[in-house]
Amino acid sequence: MKSPSWVGRLADGAMDLPQRRIVLVVLAVAAVTLPWWGSGSLVDVLTIALLHGFLASAWNIVGGLAGQLSVGHAGFFGIGAYGVAFLYARLGITPYVGILAGLSVAVIGASVLGYMSFWLPFGGFTFLLLTLGFAELLRAVARTVEIFGGAEGLMFPFNPGLTTLQFRQGTPYYFIVLGMVAGILIITKRIRNGSFGLRLESIREDEGAAVAAGIPATRLKLAAFVISAALTSLGGAFYAVLFSFITPDKVFSIDFSVAMITGSLIGGRGTVWGPVVGGALLWSLTEAMVRLPLGSGLGANIAIMLNGLALIVIVHRLPKGIAPGLSGEFVRGHLEGGILLSRLRAASRMLKNSEPVGPACDSYE
């Protein structure tokens, strides 16, 4: 067992160290007081970066904790965005109702989709295919149906006020997204450290064994998916009020789903802090690329391309992301669910060590 640096230990949500407490408090204080000492543009940038951290974290609940590959999270994001935009722009109803409407539709959609894909006996492929098609279908519908604004999307009027959730300055948005990130960190941590998370982890590691041990895999996967979709739709609703303008090609695009996945993987799939950091980092890098003076849209193309490349490189070289990569063996054992589980895994590896095992096999199969 290597002795990890305290930075490394910090990266793992399950550690409990005095340094960790101190750093966390400092970070939290810095984050909350940022609008008073940081510049306005820093606040704006951090708002969007944290939104992407939030989204990656939302994906992490079904993709990281439960190990189900959803490529349709842009669908739920778009539902959340359209819930707000449609009710506000077309009917003049306050965004609060829109948020709830989007949330309910996302929950219903996720329940139906999840029920079908986990119930049908076709394994992970069905889930991926159905979620992928789901987002594409919604995009086609939103582009076609005139009342949803067609391909041009929906833009809504700017009436600052608490009832419309629109503000002249970036600071209120920043605090909203900060609250959302804090909320999702607490949710993820509670799930991961509780029995729900442990059961999800056993499904992720070996679903057959989990089912044999009496874990209701279908129901738990469904629950994780619904929670994840609901949170994603909240992110979409926030996006809509932040920009006051959405287009189907933006909010339903597969690039968006893949950005959530990559962000979560960069940070560390299945960890608490990793996806927030990874998502924010990925968005910042992407945005920096887009701003490069390369001519019309070339930067954006290159950024998405690098996103795809990052996906491959991470799976090849860094399957656990940067969070545990900082800290070496000790935390890695911790990340996989404590000493008992890693002992069990070591034993099972000894039993079936006739075959070579890839670096990701030992943890994610």
Binding site: G67, L69, V71, M116, W119, L120, P121, F122, G123, G124, F125, T126, L128, L129, L130, L132, G133, F134, E136, L137, A140, V141, R143, T144, I254, D255, V258, I261, L265, G297, L298, N301, I302, I304, M305, N307, G308, L309, A310, L311, I312, V315, H316, P319, E355, P356, V357, G358, A360, C361, Y364, E365
Partner: protein
């Protein structure tokens, strides 16, 4: 039967044959490597762009451009297999799908950088093959595409049944470990199978471009379609894959009459769900995609 329905069924039939070629490529890759290649549709897109490039910028004759396109895409597929897929062949399915998703993104954006976002088409007319079936008219390009696709599928079929390489491929698809023990060079089979799958897709792309259009996003739809076909038809039988592909082509072009064009992918999606539910209810799973995937020996 109304004329436009006849028309749609006739064109859908020939379109379905080309879908069949794409899906056969997908099922070869899947059968041998047990990898659901989400970048498969990108090879179709690659073929479409290459065809346009060869015709318009290099002015190669059509009959040369089509096989050349297939070859180039096959080689590109082999390269991708070596660099991206081979290192993760023993990883979990989750990780494999992520890698192919990454390949998908890269190829999509590469196309957007090289050719731009706008939809491109290519005008190839083959008057000699124009076909009237009753009152339905099928343009020569479609007829040639359908016949060529069928020819290539038959070629692949015969090659898989009769040649040494075909036996090796089927052996690996059946059981990788046994094939390895019997001296089949499985790594080489992987590369060639992947290249063959990509080549089929690229060829299909070059055949389909005269009567469709291409933009960087078409690949995703093609992946979905080949996935649907193989999922419903099963990867074990080429004949069934082709039949299902023809059915899909017909459904797609017939639904184009009744709903707006941008909803057609939605119809295809609905058909997928309906078929999966029916298959589930009938417990009709022999040879279907996941039956093969489930008995993973490797």
């Amino acid at each position: 039967m109304p004329v436009d329905l006849q028309q749609a069924i006739a064109t859908g039939f020939f379109l379905g044959l080309v879908y069949g070629l794409i899906a056969v490529g997908f099922s070869i890759t899947f059968g041998v490597m047990r990898i659901a290649n989400f970048a498969h549709g990108q090879f179709v897109m690659m073929g479409m762009y290459l065809m346009i490039f060869l015709r318009q910028d290099v002015a190669v004759p059509v009959w040369v451009a089509i096989p050349v396109t297939g070859l180039i895409v096959a080689v590109a597929g082999m390269l991708i297999e070596r660099v991206a897929i081979e290192p993760i062949i023993r990883y979990s399915r989750f990780m494999q799908m992520l890698v192919t998703l990454g390949v998908l993104m890269i190829l999509e954006q590469l196309a957007a950088i090289l050719f731009g976002d706008q939809a491109l088409g290519l005008d190839v007319r083959v008057r000699a093959f124009d076909l009237w079936i009753g009152s339905a008219f099928v343009s020569g390009a479609r007829v040639v595409a359908g016949i060529a696709a069928l020819a290539v599928i038959s070629l692949v079929f015969v090659a898989l049944k009769k040649t040494y390489f075909g036996r090796a491929v089927r052996a690996v698809a059946d059981s990788r470990v046994s094939a390895e023990l019997l001296g089949v060079r499985t790594r080489r089979v992987n590369v060639v199978a992947f290249g063959l799958g990509a080549g089929c897709a690229g060829l299909a792309g070059s055949l389909i471009i005269p009567f469709s259009f291409v933009n960087p996003l078409v690949g995703l739809g093609m992946t979905m379609k080949s996935f649907i076909v193989v999922m419903v038809g099963g990867s074990a039988s080429i004949r069934r894959v082709v039949v299902v592909a023809i059915a899909l082509g017909m459904v797609e072009s017939v639904s184009g009459i009744y709903v707006p064009l941008s909803i057609v992918p939605g119809v295809v999606y609905a058909v997928l769900i309906a078929t999966l539910v029916v298959l589930m209810l009938r417990q009709h799973r022999q040879g279907s995609l996941l039956m093969l995937g489930e008995k993973e020996g490797t």
